[in-house]
């Protein structure tokens, strides 16, 4: 071993970059698998957004922190959406799942956008209220749950 | 790890220095304790490569510590031309311990030209570059 440190780190580096490449290339499983991951990621994001909204209503979170949290959640959902969008579904069943997933994720994004608008509007005006946004997110969460169950049931 | 068939070396007058163990890759400090470079290689007064060494030839002595491009060639192989070697003469070395101390200032040495260039062309031109942080 004492003589190998010259080669060992080099191998480690090469291995490291190789594995990084593999990871970045994405472990493309089947459609339902990718949809399941997307649904999980998005439901984590939506749940985060709901906590942030509730804390905002309770006066525990500053507006900057709430809107940043909502932005992060929206980014997460958008990432999931573009992953699902890029899936190439071969069978009719897969296409169904893909379409349904896109619809659900669309709802999540809409809910998050509404929440952002509500927080930015600071009560009053025509923007949706925070409570409305929370209801929309709750509905989106349910839809995600159904999607997850459906994909997992396969 | 002294095997029985090895002859013990008779005590010699003067300090022993093993190149790898005590000199190579050691930090070189000037007489003010400012780092100058590391010992990238060493230059000997002889012998000429490939020439038979006649019996009784006096042993070669250390001429200089080397630095600069010789580090690259020592790592990756090859050999820079003698004109591109940057030398610190052995007579300027004051002490060899955990570091190699020089008896001269680092400012005038060839070994520090890159440092001087970066200092004069870049760092000294940024405001506060001469500010003493202490």
């Amino acid at each position: 071993m004492p003589d190998t440190p010259a080669t060992a780190p080099r191998q480690v580096l090469i291995l490291g970059f190789a594995s990084l490449a593999i990871v970045l290339a994405g472990c493309s499983g089947g459609v339902s698998e990718s949809v399941a991951t997307a649904a999980q990621d998005s439901s984590s994001a939506v749940a985060t957004a709901r906590i942030a909204l509730r804390q905002d209503m309770d006066g525990k979170l500053t507006r900057a922190a709430t809107s940043t949290t909502l932005d992060d959640a929206l980014k997460e959902v958008d990432t999931s959406r573009s992953t699902v969008l890029k899936l190439s579904a071969a069978t009719r069943e897969d296409r169904d799942i893909q379409r349904q997933a896109l619809e659900v994720l669309e709802r999540c994004a809409a809910g998050l956008t509404a929440a952002r608008a509500a927080v930015a509007a600071d009560d009053g005006g025509t923007a949706p209220s925070t409570a409305d946004a929370d209801r929309a997110l709750a509905a989106a969460e349910d839809a995600l749950q159904q999607l997850e169950d459906k994909v997992a049931g396969k | 790890m002294t095997s029985p068939e090895l002859v013990p070396l008779l005590p010699v007058q003067g300090r022993i220095l093993d190149a790898q163990l005590h000199l190579l890759d050691r930090q070189v400090l000037d007489h003010d304790g400012v780092p100058v470079t590391t010992v990238d290689d060493l230059e000997l007064s002889g012998p000429a490569l490939g020439e038979e060494i006649p019996q009784g030839t006096p042993a070669p002595v250390l001429d200089a510590l080397l630095t600069g491009p010789v580090l690259g060639t020592r790592i990756f192989g090859g050999r820079p031309p003698s004109s591109r070697l940057i030398r610190i003469h052995w007579k300027d070395v004051a002490d060899v311990g955990v570091v190699v101390r020089l008896g001269v200032g680092g400012e005038g040495l060839d070994a520090s030209w890159v440092e001087r260039w970066v200092r004069d062309k870049i760092i000294a031109r940024i405001p506060g570059g001469r500010h003493d942080p202490r």
Binding site: P5, A6, T7, A8, P9, R10, V12, L13, L15, G16, S19, L20, V23, T37, D41, S44, T48, I51, A52, Q55, G59, K60, L61, T62, A64, A65, T68, T69, D72, E76 | Q20, L24, D25, R26, Q27, V28, V34, P35, V36, T37, T38, D40, L71, I75, V98, V99, E115, R116, V118, R119, I122, I123, A124, I126, G128, G129, R130, H131, P133, R134
Partner: protein, 409 residues
């Protein structure tokens, strides 16, 4: 009295300085996915970093030589360069992650997009390195980082079921939703977050910066042995908060905003203010340390003049290399890569690269030529060898686990 103050200050700085973006993110991710079932890794990591910092601090104090000088002297130029390349790249990755962390925390405080904060953060880091005295820099960021104690406060205010948390911590098991490889992958990530190599570069170079002698060893030992474990408790509190608030909601942490939600839940707006100050201070402090570390490693390998105790003109290449590192960090972040993702990779690569710095320090701390009579004692050596095994196993296992788990996805 002054001495006690000095010790107290050192300990507080060590606590505040222990947590960086790697600890924040990794502990929150782990807490939100595995509860407290990986707390034992934090304990293992804290003992490891105490041991490692103790050895490298002792080498620096006894011989006046910092880590990378020693690495090159002992490994020779070829292995030394390979070591330098790996350590330097990972360190650069950490610089990038920390600056990104500062920017993300500032976004949470201001709602101005983090990409706009990145140049501000980087310039601020550079200005501090350029102008501010080493000890002031250390103490201010360390003390402000102490506000992260709000994680522990929030955990109490959340009134969790302590029995459940203790059960998770004391009888670790892989949660049903996660797989064993993922569990071990995050174990390595946590280990890497606790034992980041830059901490050691910085610690040993800092000892030279502050002109430590053997006399200061006692104080350094106290700082490390008290400060780091308390810092480790902060890490556990971060994981605990995530385990109490985020895990039941099915949230797995992917952004910094999720890390701070439990604090707001438990401690409200005041807690939020504290945690934001703490995160900015901790990541800013770590950005300073990692940036300096990149300068230290290069300068020590090539024998350049280095150190914040010198005027910048007296350490020109050292300062130039740090400026370049900061510019590279800005460049990487400007591509829009997620700083949290960079962090998650940097802690794992830290674990992979750890043997490269650990082994030479272990060897030199036994060498009387450097250490005089301050060589490792027998107990330290036994522990250090046990850790060598742990570190090697983590390093070797990291890449396969990264591939198998898709980097913990």
């Amino acid at each position: 009295m002054k001495r006690i103050l000095g010790v107290a200050l050192g300990i507080l700085t060590a606590i505040g300085g222990f947590v960086d973006i790697g600890d924040l993110v990794t502990n929150a991710v782990v807490g939100s996915r595995f509860g407290l079932s990986l707390v034992w890794v934090v304990a293992v990591g804290v003992v490891g970093i105490c041991l490692f910092a103790n050895m490298s601090g002792r080498v620096a104090a006894a011989s006046g030589r910092a880590t990378f000088e020693v690495i090159r002297e002992r490994l020779g130029p070829r292995a030394g360069l390979a070591n330098l390349s790996a350590s330097f790249l990972i360190n650069l990755m950490t610089v990038t992650a920390e600056i990104g962390g500062v920017a993300l925390a500032l976004q949470l405080a201001s709602s101005v997009h983090y990409l706009l904060w990145i140049p501000v953060a980087a310039v601020a880091v550079w200005l501090v390195i350029w102008r501010v005295k080493f000890s002031i820099m250390e103490n201010v960021t360390g003390l402000l980082g102490l506000t992260l104690i709000v994680f522990a406060v929030a955990l109490f205010l959340l009134k969790p079921d302590w029995g459940v948390l203790a059960g998770q911590a004391l009888a670790p098991a892989v949660p049903a939703e996660e797989t064993a490889p993922t569990y071990w992958y995050y174990a390595i990530a946590l280990f890497g977050a606790a034992m980041t190599p830059y901490e050691v570069f910085f610690f040993s170079s800092g000892a030279v910066e502050e002109g430590w002698t053997v006399k200061d060893l006692v104080q350094s030992r106290i700082n490390v042995l008290v400060g780091f474990p308390l810092g480790g408790l902060l890490s556990v509190a971060i994981a605990g908060c995530a385990a109490v608030v985020l895990l039941p909601a099915g949230i797995s942490v992917t952004s910094l905003s999720q890390v701070i939600l439990p604090v707001a839940e438990g401690a409200g707006k005041l807690g939020l203010a504290f945690v934001l100050v703490g995160v900015v201070a901790a990541t800013f402090g770590a950005a300073l340390e990692t940036t300096l570390s990149s300068g230290y490693t290069l300068a020590q390998f090539f024998g350049w003049s280095w150190g914040k105790f010198r005027r910048p003109v007296q350490a020109a290449r050292f300062h130039l290399s740090m400026i370049i590192c900061l510019l590279v960090g800005i460049g990487v972040l400007a591509t829009g890569v997620d700083p949290v993702l960079v962090t998650e990779y940097s802690v794992v690569f830290s674990a992979i690269a750890l043997p490269l710095t650990y082994l030479p320090i272990l060897i030199v701390s036994n060498d009387p030529q450097y250490m005089g009579k301050h060589v490792n004692g027998r107990a330290v050596n036994v522990l250090a060898l046990a850790y060598l095994v742990v570190i090697l196993v983590a390093s070797v296992a990291a890449i396969p686990l990264m591939i198998v788990t898709g980097a913990g996805a």
